[in-house]
């Protein structure tokens, strides 16, 4: 028996997908021209499947800061944050994040994945309970595997189900920690955070919110969903990432917990990995400053979201339930999704293909993302290309045929 025989069904499925043309999980961008355009297979392609919500990847201030830091501090730290890997910039970014969120403490991780892995696996111990939303990201599920706590899965965005699960645990002495996301990454729907906060308060639980997709997108100053809903005081730990609206890579956690600093010497995904390169730290500091001082980027993003979502809805596409920087187009079958994805790429539009089981409710999705840097013309073009592809694949009925029928 070969080492990877257990993956045989997956390998066959992947081979079948690849046979349709380009491998959707192996797309290579040969050149990136801007936050919204790249060269893929020799063709100028509109990027509408990223997480570059504010378009800061080519921001001149972020690039200048990164370049200067690299020249002054070198290409990498070659060590852990608790050994030789914490430079002045790392600490300054942690202070800047804490200040941005109005919190006492901040901690930077090397990826958003590790931020979730580290915080969620460490906040709950062997006698405690982690109650996670069923649609949480893989990093949260993996954090649960690393944790010694009892893991309970609650129905997606269902505060009544959460309430019942906490009620069942009412007589158990351990701490209960609820984990939710601000905006969910596949359909773009938001957590009913005010209701979740109310349940949390009533049961004396703790609350961790992953604002990965909502930082820079929601809230009066861009702090995310909890700020938008006015329940920041109920959130005990905010986790987030630098790889979406901040245009780089890395993760963070901010909190007012008085013992927060102990995490630096107990949180393994923080301790046993090299810290971020100084150039990344510098570009993220500049990007965070931009989020704080340029609300116009957020406003432009929301205008673009409205343009894309409304146009797609008018054309008859079945979308996620809420407007947001992620617009998920629901498709009836994986075959149609793969075919449509391929046709879009051939027509010069890149979106993400999301197939079950990595999607909610087993539905295949074309995951489109909106960027503040998209022009109205780009978005209109995208809607036209999507509509043509939808007619060709039979996802939407072409008007001529509808009239004839």
């Amino acid at each position: 028996m070969a080492l990877f025989d257990r993956f045989a069904p997956l390998m066959h499925a992947h081979d079948a997908i690849k046979a349709a043309g380009t491998d959707p999980f192996g797309v290579r961008m040969d050149r990136v021209l801007s936050p919204t355009e790249a060269i893929i297979k020799g063709r100028r392609t509109l990027l509408a499947g990223t997480n570059n919500y504010l378009g800061l990847t080519f921001d001149p201030g972020c690039i200048a800061a990164a370049r200067s830091a690299m020249e002054s501090f070198g290409t990498g730290t070659t060590g852990s944050s608790i050994a030789n890997g914490s430079y002045g910039g790392h600490r300054a970014l942690e202070r800047a994040l804490a200040e941005f969120y109005g919190r006492a403490h901040g901690m930077v991780f090397s990826t958003g994945y590790q931020a979730n892995l580290g915080i969620i696996s460490t906040v709950a111990g062997p006698k405690d309970y982690l109650i996670i939303d069923a649609d949480c990201h893989a990093s949260i599920y993996d954090a649960c595997k690393l944790s010694s706590a009892t893991i309970i899965r609650s129905r997606h965005n269902d505060p009544a189900d959460l309430d019942r699960r906490l009620q069942r645990l009412a007589d158990q002495p351990g701490n209960k920690v609820i984990v939710t996301e601000g905006i969910y990454s596949m359909l773009g729907d938001q957590a009913p955070i005010a209701e979740i906060a109310e349940v949390k308060r009533r049961h004396g639980a703790y609350l961790v919110v992953d604002e990965a997709h909502s930082l820079g997108v929601l809230g009066e100053t861009g702090r995310g969903l909890a700020q938008a809903a006015g329940v920041e005081a109920d959130v005990d730990f905010v986790v987030g990432t630098f790889s979406k609206s901040l245009g780089a890579v890395g993760g963070f956690c901010v909190s007012d917990n008085p013992d927060f600093e102990v995490l630096r010497i107990v949180c393994r995904p923080y301790m046993f990995t090299a810290s971020l390169p100084p150039s990344v730290i510098a570009s993220v500091r500049a990007a965070l400053e931009t989020v704080a001082t340029r609300p116009d980027l957020r406003h432009r993003l929301w205008r673009n979201i409205g343009t894309l979502y409304d146009a797609l809805e008018r054309r008859g596409f079945l979308l996620g339930p809420q407007k947001g920087p992620v617009v998920g187009i629901r498709l009836p079958s994986p075959e149609m999704a793969i075919h449509a994805w391929q046709a879009l790429l051939d027509a010069g539009v890149y979106v993400n293909l999301a197939l079950p089981p990595a999607t909610p409710s087993g539905e295949p999705l074309l995951r489109c993302s909106v960027c503040a840097a998209h022009t109205t013309e780009q978005l209109r073009h995208m809607v036209d290309v999507l509509t043509d592809v939808a007619y060709d694949t039979g996802l939407l009925e072409a008007p001529a045929r509808a009239a004839a029928g």
């Binding site: 309970i152 899965r153 129905r155 069942r168 079950p356 089981p357 409710s361 087993g362």
Partner: protein, 89 residues
């Protein structure tokens, strides 16, 4: 609920309910027994298993910790977990 429920009837109810929920996933006419392997003998993928567990949780007013799922292979294993959690309630 389970406090007023004799253990034997919980056990019987658990098996009956699980068997009922699994009916749509039967292959051919093979009956569902305690030895039925939930993923190998039935047409359930991992997502369907998670949905099944949610239904079981609602029916019996329990939460099945994800930590227990690697130990649940057969219908009998699931029934046993339901029994444990309803007895402990």
């Amino acid at each position: 609920m389970s406090k007023d429920f004799p253990v034997t009837s919980v056990r019987h109810a658990a098996f009956e309910e699980v068997a009922r929920l699994l009916q749509p996933f039967r292959r051919h006419e093979t009956p569902i027994t305690r030895d039925t392997d939930i993923t190998a003998d039935l047409d359930l993928d991992s997502l369907a298993v998670m949905n099944l567990l949610m239904q079981v949780e609602e029916k019996f007013d329990i939460s099945i910790p994800l930590n227990l799922i690697p130990e649940i292979r057969t219908v009998g294993d699931l029934v046993q977990v339901i029994e444990q959690l309803t007895e402990g309630a």
